[in-house]
């Protein structure tokens, strides 16, 4: 199972994402932002960082990179696609998922371990978890407040498309404590915290993040 990990200029977490893929038993394939070639991968991860320096808006310029065209096409056809942090912002800018990520409500860049609950285990990236499972993974962002209009929020809630929520105090002002959402089909997931930094207890606060990567391998085997 080949999982592509995209590197944009300014991406930081591509190495950890690739390591997480290998740790889960998959083959990680590096994809380059300026190359519209998916190299035959079965799924794609848009990792965290500050692509294109976060110029204009986070993810706004990356969204138009050559590699994004085949990714958007494949995702519309059902290919599993996970956007983490900056990758979540790219997904929102590409309108693959609704809403937008805006500046944290208290303006501070946050970097800490964060508890989440997994609220939808039917997506390509969350099937390894138990419904309602509490996990602990790092959160690090400056623009992580999930915003959308009331109608979109009601749809996300009623369709069970909020895949993870922050536990406890709202860290960044996200509506309804949203940490991650999925598209209607469940193949595209955007997540603000970082599962790729929590795949073993030696280097992360837990191994809870690994479930996202084992889920997609399971989804692809069918």
């Amino acid at each position: 199972m080949k999982i592509g990990v995209v590197t944009f200029p300014g991406t930081l977490d591509d190495r950890d994402a690739a390591r997480a893929v290998r740790h889960a038993g998959g083959e990680a394939i590096s994809l380059w932002h300026n190359d519209a070639d998916l190299k035959g991968v079965d799924a794609v991860i848009l990792p965290g960082g500050f692509s294109y320096g976060d110029y204009l808006r986070c993810g706004a310029i990356s969204r138009f990179s050559p590699v994004m065209e085949p990714i958007i096409d494949a995702a519309k056809g059902g290919m599993p696609l996970l956007g983490i942090c900056n990758g979540f912002q790219v997904l929102a800018e590409a309108h693959l998922i609704p809403g937008a990520l805006t500046r944290n409500h208290e303006l501070h860049f946050l970097c800490r371990d964060q508890k989440l609950t997994i609220e939808n285990t039917n997506t390509a990236w969350t099937s390894s978890f138990a419904q309602g499972q509490e996990i602990l993974i790092p959160l690090k962002n400056g623009e992580g407040a999930y915003m959308c209009d009331d109608q979109t929020l009601a749809e996300l809630e009623s369709e069970g498309r909020i895949i993870a929520r922050y536990v406890g105090e709202n860290p960044n002002g996200s509506r309804n404590l949203i940490a991650g959402i999925t598209n209607e089909r469940g193949n595209v997931v955007g997540l603000m915290p970082h599962p790729e930094h929590a795949i073993d207890s030696l280097t992360g606060p837990s191994a809870d993040g690994l479930g996202f990567f084992t889920s997609v391998l399971k989804a692809m085997v069918g």
Partner: protein, 81 residues
């Protein structure tokens, strides 16, 4: 030379923490006039000669596609002499 100016602002219903921080800083400096502050972006676009209606229409399209995110922002396009 005339230039095309695109102003991009967060929609009124979207929280603007940067504007709030500025609004909180003003009274600390003795400026007491501000009831509220919203912060936005301004793009100044130069073209050869005076902007034509066709160019302005193109800028409108670019503003919708790239310069703003219509989910959270509004924009205006105007010509400034």
């Amino acid at each position: 030379m005339a230039k095309i100016v695109v102003d991009v602002m967060l929609k009124p219903e979207i929280l603007d923490p940067q504007g709030k921080a500025v609004a909180a800083a003003l009274p600390r400096l003795g400026f007491s006039f501000a009831k509220d502050v919203r912060q936005g972006k301004r793009f100044e676009i130069e073209v050869d000669g005076d902007p034509t209606p066709a160019q302005l229409a193109e800028v409108e399209k670019a503003a919708e596609k790239l310069l703003s995110n219509p989910v959270i922002e509004n924009f205006t396009v105007r010509v400034e002499k």
